[in-house]
Subunit: 271 residues, 2 copies
């Protein structure tokens, strides 16, 4: 186990080699964790940078000791577009964060009944932050404000990612089959890499690949919602022969995406 | 959506073409769902058999109209051996059932603190039954009484299944890589099929394959628990580069197992 507590800090909190701690962070480190001056913790900026920090005599500040190299992020950018279920989105946010999601876009679909308050979205963002710390991620996923489906398709489409939409009962190809094909195409030719690098900032030493995954509400997407997604380039996919709840489907889809591209990375390193 | 409510019935409730309903089932059908005589529902025996049933004038009985062919079960038998987490096993049972698990064995490991009452195990069995109905499964998974790890290894080992144990931080091969190898070996040669058919009743028209998946508690398996599992033939595997909670890891593992063997089935049917 990594022995150091992880805290997310805002850009404005970093000043040279000093970290200015918020009152809530001071309370947490000094009162809850009972850290003393000289004790160490990890500051994360939520965008891939970690620092090992020592608490100073002035408990309002930390002293940066060193930067930390970690590699717990997926080699691809994954966006989850989730038609909001009636309940259980807290758990989905927590577990999707553990599974490496980059961004979660709550969707108002025809069969969505939830209409979350701004406080609820703040709560989901806090859960994502906590889960990023627990799962030792370098990047905290962003939870956007909810969008209606047609508006979401203006942004998350095949211009910037490979797009899948999950729908039960329709005998679509399995998501795993589609992902294995995408992985093999990428290893073979890199057509997507070239296409995507035109619209995204490239990461060093890795081909770029972005995936958008859309999952439906209780009762599924309507036929017209599925049709507009297919028009926008989404591949309809199955997650298996059983009927998954709206809170389970995203976890299955994200498990497959993370695993297909991480297992590839692992094999590449071994081979 | 399948319009018929699904109910699990015990063998003793089936008498010829009659289903004898328990008082709780009568209450549920007549009072909660407000079914009238002649209305239909599905009776499942929890072992792969479904019947379409009409409620009779005597609300204590149903009349079997026909048997129903469904195929929502995995082509393999999957056992989850889960070192009991402090909280959250209710959700794991529900979601593991959605993912097609055949059997869940709660494990007392060195770092397990939960000591469930018999009532708790009954509750998990009820959750599995509800989830099997919701996800349209033919088989209700069995939740066994908790076992200590060394005792569980006497039963769930390589004599009857391919065995994987999940452990973070140790650079083991990814479970997906191992499953793809197992699938390819099975398609290529069938060595496991022959080996396994010696100890298991064969299913018609499918090669047999059984998988046991072990996931650890908060803090993971101890080194000695991992060592005895490896001695028993377990392959240690990774589920990716992030630290998953004890309640998330089983869902990722089961998602991969179900998908690898269902995507194979789907491809076979298409090809």
């Amino acid at each position: 186990m990594n022995p150091f507590q992880r805290l997310v800090v805002a850009p404005g909190q970093m000043a040279g080699n000093q970290v200015d701690l918020t009152p809530a962070q001071q309370h947490y480190l000094s009162r809850v964790l009972r850290l003393r001056p000289g004790d160490r913790f990890i500051a994360m900026d939520g965008h891939g940078q970690w620092w090992l920090v020592a608490l100073t005599e002035n408990a309002a500040q930390g002293q940066v000791l060193t930067t930390i190299a970690v590699a717990t992020e997926l080699p691809i950018t994954v966006t989850l577009l989730i038609a909001m279920p009636k309940t259980g989105l807290d758990d989905v946010v927590r577990q999707a964060t553990e599974l490496g999601v980059s961004q979660i876009v709550p969707i108002h679909s025809a069969r969505t009944v939830l209409n979350p308050s701004p406080q609820k979205i703040d709560r989901w963002q806090r859960i994502a932050q906590e889960a990023a710390e627990q799962s030792e991620r370098q990047v905290v996923p962003v939870i956007t404000a909810p969008l209606v489906w047609s508006d979401a398709l203006q942004t998350w489409n095949t211009r910037q990612s490979i797009c899948y939409i999950c729908q039960a009962r329709d005998h679509h190809p399995h998501l795993l089959t589609c992902l294995e094909e995408a992985r093999n195409q990428r290893l073979g030719g890199g057509g997507w890499k070239d296409e995507l690098s035109a619209t995204q900032a490239p990461q060093p030493s890795r081909p770029i690949l972005a995936i958008s995954l859309a999952t439906g509400p209780e009762g599924g997407w309507t036929e017209s919602e599925l049709a507009v997604a297919i028009d926008a380039g989404y591949q309809p996919v199955s997650l298996g022969d059983r009927i998954l709840r709206a809170v389970t489907a995203p976890l299955v889809g994200l498990s497959l995406i993370a695993s297909v591209f991480e297992a590839e990375r692992g094999n590449g390193e071994q081979g």
